[in-house]
Each structure stands twice: as C-alpha cells, then as structure tokens.
C-alpha cells in the first residue's frame, strides 16, 4: 500500500516582514518552505512504508503563484522531504492556484490521490495558515475516515491504531484503510538528511504537473491587516541585583504589581 504525504509550500512566517505603520506585508519577499510539522508527517511515512510494503510519495499543490523563485523553492522543499527517504514527489503548480481555497485544493488533490494511495498523512495544520482544513476536506472528498492530531501510529493488519491528543483526554482509535491522518509535532523527531542523501534526492522522480482549478472557490480574502502590537523594548541594564530592582520599579510604575 502506498502512502501520500501532503506537503504545503508555506511562507516562512518567522522571516515574513510586516510594517506596523503602513500595514504592508512583504509576502513576495518572504521565503517559502515545507512546514515543520510536514517533516514529522514525512518521518512517519518513511517509518510506516516498511510495514505497509509500498512507496511513500510527497504531494505538493503550490498556491504560491508560478514565479521562477517560487518554483525553485517548491522543488527545494520537495528535495528536502525526498532526502528524508520518500520515494518520489508530485508538484502541481500554475497560474490561478493562489486563488484556490481549501475547497478547490481538496478537489484537485483528491484527483491525484484517489485509487493510487491507501493512506494520506498530513500535518495538523500548515506552517503559515494553521487551519487544518485541508486534510479534513480531502477525507470528505475521498469518502475516507479522518483522524487528526496523531501522536503515535501503529499498523495492525488492515487497520491502524492511532493515539491522539485532545484537550481534556488522550484517545486511542482503530481506523480501517484507506484513511487520512494528520499528525502533531510530538509524534517523532524528523531525521536530518546528510549531504549525500540530499544529492541522491535530486535524482529521485519529481513529477511536475500543471494546475487548473476544477471548481470555483467558496471563499475570498478581502484584506490582510497587520495587528498593532506596541512594545516598549526597554533593556534593563546592571548586575543581577540592580536589574531585579529596576524591573520591580518599572512594573510598579506600570501598575501591574
């Protein structure tokens, strides 16, 4: 049975610059990458594919536009997960993809996945948007069961046992294949590929396809605003004793002690 790993081309939010005064968000300037939790999903796929005896393939539908820069970054992100031990990758890209909402993307991804895979692994949320909507929609589109927030996955014959972490309890569920499962950061420690593995990964199959939206989106982003957070950023100087005293004084003046 083959495994599909969903990898999103996410904005690197740590590097994203915003200007609080003008409200400008420098999206084009920010680099993109595979999300950290998608590396956990990749690690889990590499571990599970031995038990399931098939291949594990990364699937990326890029919504970053079709510029040369974004294309290069998308291929780099896929090389990164291939170097961790995936067998191949599919990159779907094209004009208009940036307007796609989760409804559109789920429909397009389902066409790529249906009849080819028995298990889909994804992150509980993407690095930049963190909605977790896509794997849920994909499961519904495919008509497969969906289990989110996995902290452990064990294969047992024709089903998997998934431990998942919810706010007030931990739950163990048994799910039949085919299924869609999203994982958390705590499920494993993603391996860091060696240089030779990265070199080898560049020779693994990376199948690039053109995107054309199968349906119209249900949601449009009207505006992106920059929240105003003003911090004083005062550095307290002095030795330990002095610093503690100065801090206490400052907090008293703020009226929070």
């Amino acid at each position: 049975m083959d495994i599909a790993v969903l990898v999103k081309q996410s904005l690197d939010v740590q590097e994203l610059r915003v200007d609080q005064d003008t409200g400008k968000i420098y999206i084009e300037d920010a680099p993109t990458k595979a999300g950290d939790i998608e590396l956990n999903a990749t690690e889990e796929a590499v571990r599970l594919k031995e038990k399931l005896g098939g291949k594990a393939i990364a699937i990326m539908l890029s919504t970053g536009g079709a510029s040369g820069k974004r294309q290069k970054e998308a291929r780099e992100a896929l090389t990164r997960v291939l170097a961790m031990g995936l067998d191949g990758a599919v990159l779907i890209m094209g004009e208009g993809a940036e307007k796609g909402d989760t409804y559109v993307i789920a429909k397009a991804l389902a066409e790529e996945i249906r009849d080819k895979f028995g298990l889909v692994l994804a992150a509980e949320g993407s690095e930049d948007n963190f909605s977790g909507l896509l794997p849920a929609r994909l499961a519904a589109e495919l008509g497969w069961p969906y289990v989110a927030y996995a902290t452990a996955i064990e294969v047992e014959g024709d089903h998997v046992k998934v431990t998942r972490s919810l706010e007030d309890f931990e739950e163990v569920v048994r799910v039949k294949f085919p299924a869609v499962i999203s994982v958390t950061q705590e499920i494993n420690k993603p391996r860091v590929p060696k240089l030779v593995e990265i070199v080898k990964a560049k020779k693994k199959p990376l199948d690039q396809k053109d995107f054309s939206p199968p349906v119209e989106p249900k949601l449009t982003i009207r505006e992106l605003k920059v929240p105003k957070v003003e911090r004083k950023q005062i550095v307290i100087e002095g030795d330990v004793e002095e610093a503690a005293e100065k801090l206490i004084q400052a907090l008293k003046e703020e009226g929070v002690l």
Binding site: Y103, L133, A136, R137, A140, D168, I221, R231, V235, E254
Partner: protein
C-alpha cells in the same frame, strides 16, 4: 440568517450561541452526554436534542450535523481540537465555505465576513465567505447570553457504518486556573535545563499570585507540565496584565499567543532572541541567576 451550533464542550457551546446571535436565530445541537446541562442554554431559539448520539462519536457527528445543516445558512463549531476536526469534513460534505478560529463575524451586503489570524499571528485575514458556511469560533471571544428560554426538539441519531472505533480514552489532569483567564502568567521555555528547575518559575508565580504556562516543546514534547497547557497559535491565547517569559526564544507561533498581554517581560541569555522584540522589558541574563534574586526581592516587598 439561520444558525446551527454545536460544541463538545458545553461552556464553548454557550459562547457559540452568543456568536450566532450576531447573525440570526440559533439552534443548538445537544448530545446525550450533554443533556444534563440543557437548562444552562439561554438565548438560543431552540435546542436540538439528540439522545441517541454521544459527543465522543466524531463520525456520527459529521453525519448528523451535515444532515441537519440543510435547513441552515451557517454552522458554528468551537475551535477546540475536536471542533476543528469537524469543520473541514462538514463543510466539504455541504459544498460550503469554511474558516477556523474566527474572532469576529458579520453580514455585509448579504455576504458573510469573518476575521481570523494568519501567518503565525503576523496578519489578520478578512475573509468573504459564500453561503452555506461552516465556521469555528475563537475561544473566549463571546460571552454566553443570560436570557431567553429555548424550545426543545428531539432529533434522531444517524445510522451509519463506523470506520473509526474508539478503543481507549484517558482523562488528562485538570488545569487549576485557566491560563486564558489569569491576570499574571510566568511562561517557561526550553531554557530550563530540567523539570525540577521549573520550581524557580513556580516560586516566582506564587509570590506574584500568578500561574505558570509553557511553550509547546516544554508541555507537549518534554511533558514537564502536568497539563497540556502551552501558549501559542496551536495552544492557548492569553491576555494577562503581566506576562513574564523566561527561557523561551519567542518564535512566531508562540508570540501569536501573547499579543493581548498588557505588559511583557522577557528573561533570556541571548540578546538576539526574537522574544525581546515582543517585550516591554528585557533582561539579558541567565534565568538561574536572575529568577531567585527577583523572587527574593518581590517577597520582601510583598511580605511587608
């Protein structure tokens, strides 16, 4: 607009009723395990009671809510983990638009407009949603209504084949003071070298009358806190009047959870740590040297 609401947590369900009233009449779905709290529901037009379904049955819920939803324009769910798990599935079954963790909702020219945090908290997205729409509402944004008795109507449970079977469920220890309601919070990060050392943070919190929270790795990965209470985009968002962040780098996903704090103090050995940009007062020092002294001095003042 007609609104259908449901949450696994009765407390969040009451917040959803309030959020839904911004749009129109609300019907609140109540499952068998929640029946005992039905009389707490105020302000909804009606309660839809399903005696044949437990809220632990996610597949049953997807089926039930998708079925009922044909009579409504908007479905509201909570932004806890199980609520968010339902949003995408229900929305897709209905061919509806979807958004999670929204902080406000309104109708403008017949369009549903919502706001939500994105880019790890660096931006707020204002989104226009087509109807029907399925939405999860941010926790703590809406106060439960106090008046208005709903009528009660029973609905029948769906009969479907379950593909997910719950084989074990373990309760987690309950949190003492909810972090999102605390006035003073000390947040600990991986700068602490071992679990025992968190004592330094608890002592500081004690003298201030505050509570201790953590970054995600400290709570979920190292499991140093007895409860799963981490602060951030995937955890709790806090709004204390004083927050002291100790030994945490201040990565964006953490920072998104502390934006509403009034005064932020950061203690970190690395003067370049991003947390200092998120702080009003920064102390570039070893927490092991600084915290004991700070706590001692605070004790002296508080002691009289």
């Amino acid at each position: 607009m007609k609104v259908l609401a449901f949450s696994h947590s009765m407390d969040l369900a009451l917040e959803l009723v309030s959020a839904g009233r911004e749009l129109g009449d609300v019907s609140l779905l109540v499952t068998s395990d929640q029946e005992g709290r039905i009389n707490e529901v105020k302000g909804a037009k009606e309660v839809l009671l399903c005696k044949g379904l437990d809220s632990g049955d996610q597949e049953g819920l997807v089926e039930l809510i998708s079925g009922l939803a044909s009579d409504y324009e908007v479905v509201l769910l909570a932004s806890d983990r199980r609520g968010r798990e339902l949003v995408g599935q229900v929305a897709h079954r209905l061919g509806a638009s979807s958004a999670v963790d929204v902080s406000s909702l309104s109708v403008e020219d017949g369009k549903l407009v919502v706001e939500r945090m994105t880019f790890g908290g660096k931006a707020i997205a204002v989104e226009e949603m087509s109807l029907p729409a399925v939405i999860s509402v941010q926790k703590g944004k809406f106060k439960p209504p106090e008046e208005g008795e709903p009528s009660v109507r029973e609905v029948s449970a769906p009969s479907i084949e379950r593909r997910v079977e719950v084989i074990e469920r373990k309760e987690k220890p309950k949190v003492g003071v909810p972090l999102d309601k605390a006035e003073i919070v000390v947040a600990v990060g991986r700068g602490f070298r071992k679990k025992e050392d968190l004592k330094l943070a608890y002592e500081l919190a004690d003298v201030l009358g505050g509570v201790v929270g953590a970054t995600r790795p400290v709570a979920a990965d190292l499991k140093w806190m007895e409860e799963e209470v981490w602060i951030g985009i995937s955890g709790v968002r806090i709004a204390p009047k004083l927050l002291i962040v100790v030994g945490a780098s201040g990565q964006q996903q953490f920072a998104a959870g502390i934006m509403d704090s009034k005064v932020v103090v950061a203690v970190n050995t690395d003067s370049k740590a991003p947390i200092f940009e998120q702080a009003d007062y920064g102390v570039v020092m070893d927490l092991y040297e600084f915290l004991p002294v700070l706590t001692k001095k605070l004790k002296e003042i508080k002691g009289g």
